[in-house]
C-alpha cells in the first residue's frame, strides 16, 4: 500500500450503535457536562413520534429535555435565530437532532451561533467552527433515510457553504427505535449516496488510510442494505445498515472539499432530470473505470468492501479494478430492475439530451483540470449507456 508524503484526518464523532443505544446518550451528555438537551426533530420524525423513544431513554436520569418538533425541511436564518433564543433563554447546554439533511444543516449553524455568541446566523463562518472544543455538545440520532452529509463537517444554509471539523456532531446514535419508516425510494437514495461517497473516498487519490476506515464501512453497509432491497422498508437490519452507511460516509468526508464525482453529480442533479443520489448512482460505475485511467483512482482498493474478502482475494490483482467497476455496474443494474426502471442505470435512462450534458460539463466550476469540460464529456460518454466509450475501442 503506497502512502502519500502527507496525510491528515480528523473525525471527532463518537458513534454509538445498536441495542439500547439511545439510553447511552444521557451518560455521554453528562460526560460533556450537559444535562439540559434541546431536541430538534423534522416533520418525518414528528409524524412517526420518534421523539417518544428518546424521552423514554431519558427516564431515570436527571436530564431535562426541551423539544422543538416538526421543523420544516427548508432551513432558514429566521428559524435559526428563533431556536438560538430558545436555547439561550431556556438555559440549554446541548443539541440533539432527530432528522436528516436540512435539519442537520440548520442544527450545525445553530450550534455555531449558540457556541460563539454570534447573533446573526448569516455571519457565522467556517473559521468560527475551526476549534471543535469551543462548540457545545451536539448529538445526531441518525435516521435510515438520510442525505449522508449529516455527520460530515459540511453545512449549507441559503447558499452559504461552511466546512469545518467543528461542525461535525460530537455523538451519533443509531438505534432501531429511531430509524423511521421511510419508503423504499428514500432508503435506496440513502444507500446509493452513501455507497458513492464512501467509494469515492476509498478510490480517490491521494490515499488516506484513516479516512478509508470510514469509507470502507460506508460501502460495506450500503451494499449489505442494497442487496436486501426487497426487505428495505420493513426489516430492521437493512435500515440499520443504511443509517450506518450514511453516518460512515459523512465521517469519511469530514471537512474535506467535495470530490470530483460529487461535484459533477451536483451539476447533473441541478438540471432536474435526476436526483443527486441517482446522478451518483449513474456516475459511480463509469467513474471507477474512467477514474482509473484519467484520475489516478484505484478501484481495486474498493473490491473487498464491495464483494467480500473471499471473492476479492480470489480475483487476480490485474483484474481487481475491472471487477470493481463490473460489481458496481451489476449493483446499479439490479437496482434498476428491482425498481422497474425508476432508478436509472445510465444517463440515457434518465432522459438527458446531448446538449444538456454538454452544458452540464461546462458548468462545473473548478480549477481542477481533471474535470475540465472535455474530461467530463468523456466521462458522460462512458456513462451514457448507448454509445460505446471510444477510449475503450
Amino acid at each position: 500500500m503506497p502512502l502519500p508524503d502527507r496525510m491528515q484526518f480528523n473525525c471527532p464523532v463518537k458513534l454509538i450503535c445498536g441495542r439500547r443505544a439511545l439510553e447511552h446518550i444521557p451518560y455521554e451528555l453528562a460526560t460533556r457536562n450537559a444535562c439540559r438537551p434541546l431536541l430538534l426533530s423534522d416533520e418525518n420524525a414528528h409524524r412517526e413520534n420518534r421523539s417518544r423513544a428518546f424521552v423514554d431513554a431519558l427516564r431515570e436520569t436527571d436530564h431535562t429535555l426541551g423539544l422543538v418538533e416538526a421543523l420544516p425541511a427548508k432551513a432558514s436564518r429566521e428559524i435559526v435565530s428563533e431556536l438560538a433564543a430558545i436555547y439561550r433563554d431556556r438555559d440549554h447546554d446541548a443539541l440533539v437532532v432527530m432528522g436528516a439533511g436540512p435539519l442537520m444543516d440548520m442544527a450545525k449553524i445553530l450550534n455555531l451561533v449558540v457556541s460563539t455568541g454570534q447573533d446573526d446566523p448569516g455571519a457565522v463562518t467556517s473559521d468560527m467552527a475551526g476549534m471543535a472544543s469551543r462548540l457545545k455538545p451536539m448529538v445526531l440520532i441518525a435516521p435510515a433515510a438520510a442525505s449522508a452529509y449529516e455527520a460530515s463537517g459540511r453545512a449549507s444554509i441559503h447558499g452559504a457553504d461552511l466546512r469545518a471539523v467543528g461542525l461535525m456532531p460530537d455523538l451519533v446514535c443509531i438505534d432501531e427505535r429511531t430509524l423511521g419508516a421511510p419508503g423504499q425510494e428514500a432508503l435506496m437514495a440513502t444507500g446509493i449516496t452513501a455507497l458513492a461517497l464512501g467509494a469515492e473516498t476509498v478510490m480517490a487519490r491521494p490515499k488516506n488510510p484513516l479516512g478509508d476506515i470510514y469509507g470502507v464501512n460506508a460501502v460495506q453497509m450500503a451494499v449489505a442494505a442494497l442487496h436486501a432491497v426487497e426487505r428495505l422498508p420493513d426489516a430492521v437490519t437493512p435500515r440499520m445498515h443504511l443509517a450506518g452507511a450514511a453516518v460512515m460516509a459523512g465521517c469519511a468526508l469530514a471537512d474535506r472539499a467535495p470530490g470530483r464525482m460529487e461535484r459533477i453529480a451536483r451539476r447533473l442533479a441541478a438540471t432536474g432530470r435526476t436526483s443527486y443520489s441517482e446522478a451518483l448512482g449513474i456516475l459511480l460505475p463509469a467513474a471507477a473505470d474512467f477514474g482509473e485511467r484519467h484520475w489516478d483512482w484505484s478501484p481495486a482498493d474498493l473490491l473487498r468492501a464491495l464483494v467480500g474478502l473471499d471473492r476479492a482475494a480470489s480475483t487476480p490483482p490485474a483484474q481487481q479494478a475491472m471487477s470493481t467497476a463490473s460489481a458496481l455496474k451489476t449493483l446499479v443494474n439490479d437496482l434498476f430492475c428491482h425498481t422497474a426502471g425508476r432508478i436509472p442505470r445510465v444517463l440515457d435512462d434518465a432522459g438527458f439530451t446531448r446538449e444538456e450534458l454538454d452544458s452540464v460539463a461546462a458548468s462545473v466550476e473548478t480549477e481542477d483540470r481533471a474535470i475540465a469540460p472535455g474530461a467530463i464529456a468523456r466521462l458522460f460518454q462512458a456513462a451514457w449507456g448507448v454509445v460505446p466509450d471510444p477510449a475503450r475501442q
Binding site: R20, V55, R59, E60, L67, L71, S76, E82
Partner: protein, 177 residues
C-alpha cells in the same frame, strides 16, 4: 415562523427498577452465602483487602448491591444503598436498561463490559476478582441454560457438589445468613 417549544422532565421506570432491586438484593445475599460455602470463592475473598467494600448497581440513582469483606474473611451483604461509607470498587451500569439486560440474562458481565455498558471505578484486580465471584455465584443460582448465558465457560463441577452447594446457598440467601 413561530416554533413550538415544550419542556419535559422524563419520568421513571418503577417496574424495571423494582425488578433490578429484587435481583440485586437476592444476588447480594447469595454472594454472602456463597462466600461461606464455596472454597474457590473463599480463596478469592481471602485475597481482597480487609474491610474491602464493593458495589454493583446502576450509576447515579441505583439500585445497588453493596457487599463488604468482614474481618473473619467472609462477605456480608450491606444493603441496596451506597451510604457515606467509602466504597473501594464500583461496578456501575451506565443506565437502568443496561442493568436490566444483564439481569434478564441477555448480556453477561463480560459482554456488558465489552459493549461499554458497565463502568469500573476502582482497582482493576479487585474488579476481576469480584467478576469471578459473581460468575461463580450465578452458576450456583441459575439453571444451566440460563447460567450458560451468564458466564463465558460453564464449569465442569461434580453433580453432587453442585447440588449440595446450590441448596446451601439458596437456603442461606433466603434466610440471610
Amino acid at each position: 415562523m413561530n416554533v413550538t417549544y415544550r419542556e419535559i422532565k422524563p419520568g421513571k421506570k418503577p417496574v424495571k427498577r423494582a425488578y433490578l432491586a429484587v435481583m440485586l438484593w437476592f444476588m447480594g445475599r447469595a454472594v454472602q452465602a456463597a462466600s461461606r460455602v464455596d472454597r474457590a470463592i473463599m480463596d478469592e475473598v481471602a485475597d481482597l483487602p480487609d474491610d474491602f467494600v464493593f458495589a454493583l448497581g446502576v450509576a447515579e440513582r441505583g439500585p445497588w448491591m453493596v457487599v463488604g469483606r468482614r474481618s473473619d474473611g467472609a462477605l456480608s451483604y450491606r444493603g441496596r444503598a451506597i451510604g457515606d461509607d467509602p466504597v473501594d470498587l464500583k461496578l456501575a451500569f451506565k443506565h437502568l436498561e443496561a442493568g436490566f439486560l444483564t439481569f434478564t440474562f441477555r448480556e453477561n458481565t463480560p459482554v456488558a463490559t465489552a459493549r461499554d455498558r458497565l463502568n469500573v471505578d476502582g482497582e482493576v484486580a479487585h474488579a476481576c476478582a469480584v467478576v469471578r465471584i459473581i460468575d461463580r455465584v450465578q452458576v450456583y443460582l441459575l439453571p444451566k441454560p440460563l447460567a450458560r448465558l451468564a458466564v463465558k465457560r460453564y464449569p465442569r463441577w461434580p453433580l453432587l457438589r453442585k447440588c449440595v452447594h446450590r441448596t446451601r446457598i439458596y437456603w442461606r440467601a433466603l434466610l440471610g445468613y
